[in-house]
């Protein structure tokens, strides 16, 4: 079995970010970049399949040259190899353009399963897995919080607002996973050392059969027309209780309802 895990290099979720005032893309030099957190779950799931059934697991990353550190980080979890798609024309690509590039790279590869995080922590569109499935004409089992494999048959529990639905597909297929699916491991130091010598193939747009006119900021379907910094944190609201517990509880419930949390 061959599994490919598309991963993304994202700005550190905890850091405050700067946006380029001209094109509203993120100033990537201003923050530390990390491996997208959701991709830790997809890598963990792929590693569990590898350890249980045996599989070759490959990481696929579209990103600037510096994304190689992200690729190495992914490899340090014990993956077998990596493909990195790097091209200056890619800068500013939206979800559709990203899916186009990933699909291009995947068309050149043999695989049984694509496992990816359901969203990236910077863009949060959750669109790429489904778009990728569309481009490749493959079944998509998205929002999986449980994944079972029986021969060529995949069964996933798809997380919904109220519970889950059970969905099935035949391999090859695309699966996107949510946090509940597993508890990701930490890399091991030996994995970190081994990652240095794992095969990494770097490709440009031409090599994945995508034309520069289909990607990048100028050719993206999504356009960002304005960016506003987050307003400063407001002081919290204090709820006083008369000691009975009921007054305070009611005030908190009212507050949450007013904020549409409950």
């Amino acid at each position: 079995m061959r599994i490919i895990c598309p991963v993304k290099r994202v700005p550190d979720t905890a850091a405050s970010k700067k946006v380029d005032p001209d094109d509203f893309t993120l100033d990537r030099d201003s923050v530390e970049a990390i491996l997208n957190a959701n991709d830790e779950w997809s890598i963990e799931e792929a590693m569990r399949i590898k350890e249980r059934d045996g599989a070759e697991v490959i990481v696929l990353c579209m990103g600037p040259e510096q994304a190689q550190t992200t690729v190495r980080k992914a490899l340090s979890y014990g993956l077998d190899g990596a493909i990195q798609v790097t091209d200056p024309a890619i800068h500013g690509s939206d979800a559709v353009a990203t899916a186009r590039v990933l699909a291009g790279a995947l068309r050149e590869e043999s695989f049984d399963l694509i496992i990816m995080g359901n969203q990236s922590s910077d863009a949060r569109t959750t669109l790429v897995p489904a778009m990728l499935a569309e481009f490749l004409d493959l079944p998509a089992l998205t929002y999986a919080r449980k994944l079972e494999i029986d021969g060529r048959k995949l069964t996933a529990h798809r997380e919904t607002a109220s519970g889950h639905v059970v969905v099935e597909a035949e391999m090859p297929a695309i699966v996107s996973v949510v946090e509940a699916i597993n508890e990701p491991r930490y890399p091991s130091f030996k994995g970190i050392m081994a990652a240095k010598s794992k095969p990494l193939s770097t490709r440009d747009l031409g090599a994945v059969g995508v034309d520069a006119s289909e990607v990048g900021l100028a050719n993206s379907w999504t356009q960002i027309i304005e960016a506003t910094p987050r307003p400063p944190k407001q002081a919290g609201e204090k709820v006083d209780d008369d000691g009975s517990g009921t007054v305070g509880a009611k005030a908190i419930a009212d507050f949450l309802a007013a904020q549409k949390f409950i």
Binding site: S76, Y186, F189, G191
Partner: protein
């Protein structure tokens, strides 16, 4: 933290240690300390990430890292949870004695299980009646065929009852330091039992117990080096161990400093953050300066060790300075927090209780001064 002279994979190693400390250790420390629970699962996870054998040869399952790197990992872990950082240091100290002095055969069978973290290490020198005067120990081992028969009581053993093996210093010959030998004692040795854990003021999740040897039989090939070499082995192991304690002290002090900085910026009195008062600012400045100095000192000592130079005096200095400073930082951290620092809502009262033990273990700070002054005056 200094990050010069590190290979990329060593930086990643420190990132891994820091992330593990922030995400897994720090959130556990308060509850485990309060309940005095030994966090065995956390040591298993350190083992799964290959962090239990960093400074040992890859031939025996280690990662061949210099002490300067291994110690920074200890510092990061201690910053999150002292009992875990100190536990790794004690494990390394015990494993080192086996790696350096055991026979090839014993190394082959035992060392990979130690460097992988499958077996947790412990070091047993102190006795109820001999602490600073360690050469006064009375636990005796007598040869009987292919075994030593061991009788006596050892005291204060970190990981007592939880460890997979003990490096035991015991008497096989005359009185004084030359009659002492070191043995590798497996945890399941018949005749070895454990007293209930000591009830400590801090470091409560690290178990400390007496070992009771009652006609316990240890194979003679478990002797480290030769009979009569035990005291030298014990002292050499402590040289490295003191670097570990220094790194723990820096980690603890850094944690206390971090907590104080954020509290001082947040807490307002007289209409402004208390950090704006010079009286607080100067406290913070002295705390931070000493932390950097202590870190530089243990790293300098580690570099000397890694280069094969004499480093015992400097290791004693690093242990002395770092633990005394950690005590001061922890005390001042409570001061910065005022009354809130004296209650368990904030971690600083725990840091204060934990810092104290670092001035006592692996040679009290008086003993460090004895070591340093003797070494200074030898010429």
């Amino acid at each position: 933290m200094t990050v010069t002279r590190l290979e990329p994979e060593q930086r990643e190693l420190l990132d891994l240690a820091r992330e593990f400390a922030v995400r897994e250790l720090a959130p556990r420390a308060a509850a485990d300390e309060a309940a005095a629970t030994f966090p065995a699962d956390l040591f298993r996870r350190l083992a799964a990430s290959d962090l239990m054998g960093l400074p040992f040869d890859s031939e025996y399952g280690g990662s061949g890292q210099p002490y300067a790197v291994y110690l920074r990992v200890v510092e990061e872990l201690a910053r999150g949870f002292l009992a875990v950082g100190l536990g790794l240091s004690v494990h390394t100290l015990a494993t080192w004695a086996v790696a350096t002095f055991a026979s090839d055969e014993v190394r082959k069978t035992w060392l990979p299980r130690m460097t992988s973290g499958e077996l947790l290490g412990a070091y047993s020198l102190s006795e109820p009646g001999s602490g600073s005067d360690a050469a006064g120990l009375t636990t005796r081992a007598v040869r009987d065929g292919d075994d030593y028969v061991v009788n006596g009581t050892k005291a204060w053993v970190t990981h007592g009852g939880e460890a997979g093996f003990y490096v035991l210093m015991c008497r096989t010959g005359e009185e004084g330091s030359r009659g002492i030998s070191a043995l590798l004692v497996p945890a399941d040795t018949p005749g070895l039992s454990f007293a209930p854990p000591e009830r400590k003021m801090g470091l409560r999740s690290s178990p400390t117990r007496q070992l009771i040897f009652d006609d316990a039989r240890v194979p003679t090939h478990h002797l480290l080096a030769e009979e009569g070499h035990g005291f030298r082995i014990a002292m050499a192991a402590l040289d490295g161990g003191r670097l570990g304690i220094a790194a723990c002290a820096v980690g603890l002090a850094q944690a206390a400093l971090d907590q104080s900085l954020s509290y001082a910026a947040e807490r307002e009195q007289f209409g402004r953050p208390i950090a704006d008062f010079q009286g607080i600012g100067f406290l913070l400045a002295d705390m931070a300066t000493g932390v950097e100095a202590a870190r530089a000192l243990y790293l300098e000592a580690a570099d000397r060790r890694d280069l094969g130079q004499p480093y015992a005096r400097m290791a004693a200095m690093a242990k002395l300075f770092a633990s005394d400073h950690a005590m001061r930082v922890a005390t001042d951290a409570v001061q910065v927090h005022g009354g809130y620092g004296y209650v368990t809502d904030y971690p600083v009262e725990r840091y204060l209780r934990e810092a104290k033990v670092l001035q006592i273990v692996e040679g009290t700070n008086q003993v460090q001064r004895v070591v340093i002054s003797r070494d200074l005056l030898r010429r």
